[in-house]
């Protein structure tokens, strides 16, 4: 697979899809310098084992299908796979789950990805506002976004000043600071991702919505990584 925005968008279009598949999303992120987990696409359990060995254990297996919207609901996601034997076993289990619970769904393969270590979960997104055009969103994950609506917005193009303000102005900002013996989080890495997303949504007219959710933020100096990415096309 070629990892350029135009190739990814064209191939999705030619298949009538308005959403990029997971590996395509990671690939688009990489093109814009947004850090993603190490990953590979397997079409057999042996290939999955090879990829997993290259990535290093533990890994995550996810079904790649344009027909499955909520992968976990059909048993299409298996976390924390720890050995080659387990990869073989879980690969077949995953295929069985999907065939049983989503019969008829097209399956393009299985995404084998690095299991992202734990950290502070945040969301970086982008959308197109009818009046302001491309806008970028930042928020803390989970209840902060869903219940408290603790998010900040800026209109693209963003400057580093905007990205810094966006992160600092959410009420949950203090979770980035050192507390209860935990080290402070890598705020700069998140700001960098916000800026890259701004660049992406400005560049790519065809992208209508970006959801990097969650982005895992590590300790200061250790960066951040997108654990799940979703791109919608217009």
């Amino acid at each position: 697979m070629e990892c350029t925005p135009s190739f990814l968008i064209d191939s999705a279009r030619s298949e009538g899809r308005s959403k990029l598949l997971e590996h395509e999303s990671f690939c688009l992120c990489e093109h814009y310098g947004i850090p993603v987990p190490r990953y590979g696409v397997a079409r057999s359990s042996e290939e999955a084992v090879r990829i997993a060995k290259k990535i290093g254990f533990p890994v995550v297996l996810k079904v790649i299908s344009p027909d499955v919207v909520h992968k976990s609901d059909v048993g299409g996601v298996i976390l924390d796979v720890r050995s080659p034997e387990e990869v073989r076993e879980k690969y077949s289990a995953l295929m069985r789950n999907v065939t049983l619970r989503a019969p008829g769904a097209r399956v393009y393969g299985v995404l084998v990805q690095e299991m992202v270590p734990r950290g502070l979960e945040v969301i970086v997104g982008a959308t197109r506002d009818p009046y302001f055009g491309p806008v970028v969103m930042f928020g803390l994950g989970g209840v902060f976004v869903e219940v408290l609506k603790d998010v900040s917005f800026r209109v693209a193009p963003l400057t580093p000043i905007d990205a810094g303000e966006m992160v600092r102005e959410v009420k949950g900002y203090r979770l980035f600071e050192a507390f209860r013996g935990e080290a402070p989080r890598d705020r700069k890495a998140v700001e960098e991702i916000i800026l890259r997303v701004s660049e992406l949504i400005e560049d790519l007219d065809e992208v209508s919505e970006v959801d990097l959710n969650p982005v895992i933020v590590f300790e200061e100096g250790l960066g951040a990584k997108v654990a799940d990415a979703r791109f919608m096309l217009r």
């Binding site: 997104g125 009046y131 302001f132 806008v135 928020g139 976004v145 400057t159």
Partner: protein, 479 residues
């Protein structure tokens, strides 16, 4: 650089289409306001069925006027507006101020589109339709059907809502907030907030703008104009529809969260505007910005005759990121030389409930002279033994003698007499309010603006630099 709207605000001549001998017609009220306001340019009533109106020769059409007409105020029924536009275009009018309603606001999109395209064809700009007019005090021009006794000053007020706008014209008179301009934007078919911000940014008679905004059509242009405005002068925005978010369904996707209110909050921060929740705060802040707009240093001193008022002010300041420091020791020593022993010389300085006008004068004057004090908040709670007006006079005297170099803001709490003292202070150039909280949050707005301005200036510099880099690359490749 002269703004494209210069002639709208400095017309040499103005015509009122729809003026009549019936004094209750909107066109007639506007004409009366123009005449009684003392506008120095030529004024032409236009009405095909009258020879003269209010002592002025009336014209059958704009084209029948021999002189040039810069601005035509249109107050005829919507269905007649298009013929007026053609007439105006042939007469060489530059600006159409369309008061008439019955356009987009009632679903009549097509008529509004025709209005704008006809005006464009003739090179005219349109203010409105569906507005109550506009006021510009430096030209002594009140082309509105709002109150006639507008107080001149340096606050420009731009409003999308007509009814609220007229009401606020009245409010500004009561609150003694002098205005340079009041502009009703209505449907914003052509001239919008961005155009006006461009004009007011350059206007020497305007120190601050209050904008009441429901929405904008061209968001990008608004961001550019507003950012550039707030890098020069404070922009206060009342954005309606703040609570829409509460009704939005819970969902974690960006699309569903980018509902108006949350996005607008971000936009207003991005452009360096002071977002206020209510009309009261908007005018409170504007009152202060009318006197002071450059950021003071961080050392705020509070002088009060009541502990409670001092604490309320301290809390309000702290909520806005302004923290009080201990007063300079030689200042404390000076206070000790005349204050009773039970007075508190920390910050807030409590000059006691029995504080005389003399105490206020001495404490304030020395504070204003002290190099380690940057701004002073003076609070007064009315007591049986003191006279609010005398206290206000003592404050004004100290401020006058100091040459208005440092921000002084007053909060006077009490009866009708205290209200009169507040008016006296405002008229003397000292921003004053009837509660310690309103005084404190207005002073804090000066600091908030200073921070916002710093961010917006940095942002604009960054964008300009990025643009130059892109252009530089283009040059290199084309070479």
């Amino acid at each position: 650089m002269a703004s494209g709207l210069y002639r709208l605000f400095h017309p040499r001549s103005i015509a009122v289409v729809g003026a009549s001998r019936n004094p209750s017609k909107i066109g007639s009220i506007v004409l009366r306001n123009i005449l009684s306001g003392g506008f120095a340019g030529r004024v032409y009533p236009v009405n095909p069925s009258a020879d003269s109106i209010m002592g002025l020769e009336a014209y059958a059409s704009l084209t029948s006027i021999s002189g040039k007409v810069d601005v035509a105020v249109v107050a005829v029924p919507a269905e007649r507006v298009l013929e007026v536009v053609e007439d105006a275009g042939r007469a060489g009018v530059e600006f159409l101020v369309v008061l008439s309603s019955g356009f987009k606001e009632v679903g009549n999109f097509e008529l509004e589109r025709q209005l704008v395209s006809a005006a464009r064809r003739h090179g005219m700009r349109v203010l409105g339709p569906n507005i109550f007019g506009y006021v510009y005090t430096p030209s002594r021009l009140n082309a509105s059907f709002g109150p006639s006794n507008v107080l001149p000053g340096n606050v420009a007020f731009v409003t999308q809502s007509g009814a609220l706008g007229i009401a606020l014209m009245g409010y500004s008179i009561v609150e003694k907030v002098g205005v340079s301009s009041i502009v009703s934007l209505g449907n914003k078919s052509d001239i919008d907030d961005a155009d006006l911000l461009e004009f007011f940014a350059e206007d020497p008679h305007t120190k601050t703008v209050i904008a009441y905004i429901e929405g904008v059509e061209n968001g990008r242009r608004f961001i550019d104009a507003a950012s550039s405005f707030s890098s020069k002068k404070p922009l206060i925005v009342i954005k309606s529809g703040r609570t829409e978010a509460g009704a939005k369904a819970a969902a974690s996707h960006t699309g569903s969260l980018s509902s108006g209110p949350l996005l607008w909050e971000g936009v207003l921060r991005q452009v360096g505007a002071l977002q206020v929740k209510d009309v009261e705060s908007a005018f409170d802040y504007a009152k202060l910005f009318a006197s002071y707009s450059s950021p003071p240093g961080p050392r705020v001193l509070v002088i009060t005759n009541g502990g409670g008022a001092g604490v309320q002010a301290t809390d309000t300041l702290a909520e806005n990121g302004v923290y009080l420091r201990e007063p300079p020791s030689d200042y404390v020593e000076y206070l000790r030389s005349f204050l009773p022993s039970y007075a508190s010389t920390r910050n807030p300085v409590d000059i006691t409930g029995g504080a005389s006008d003399e105490y206020y004068y001495l404490a304030l004057k020395r504070a204003l002279e002290h190099p380690e004090v940057d701004a002073v908040l003076v609070l007064y709670c009315q007591t049986l033994t003191t006279d609010p007006l005398k206290t206000a006079e003592a404050i004004v005297k100290a401020v006058l003698e100091s040459g208005f170099r440092k921000p002084v803001v007053a909060g006077f709490v009490g009866s009708e007499e205290s209200r009169r003292a507040v008016s006296f202070l405002v008229e003397s150039g000292v921003p004053a309010y009837p509660t310690p909280e309103r005084a404190a949050s207005s002073l804090a707005a000066l600091y908030r603006y200073a921070r916002l301005r710093e961010v917006v200036v940095k942002r604009l510099e960054y964008l300009a630099l990025a643009r130059r880099e892109v252009e530089g690359k283009k040059l290199v490749t084309s070479f």
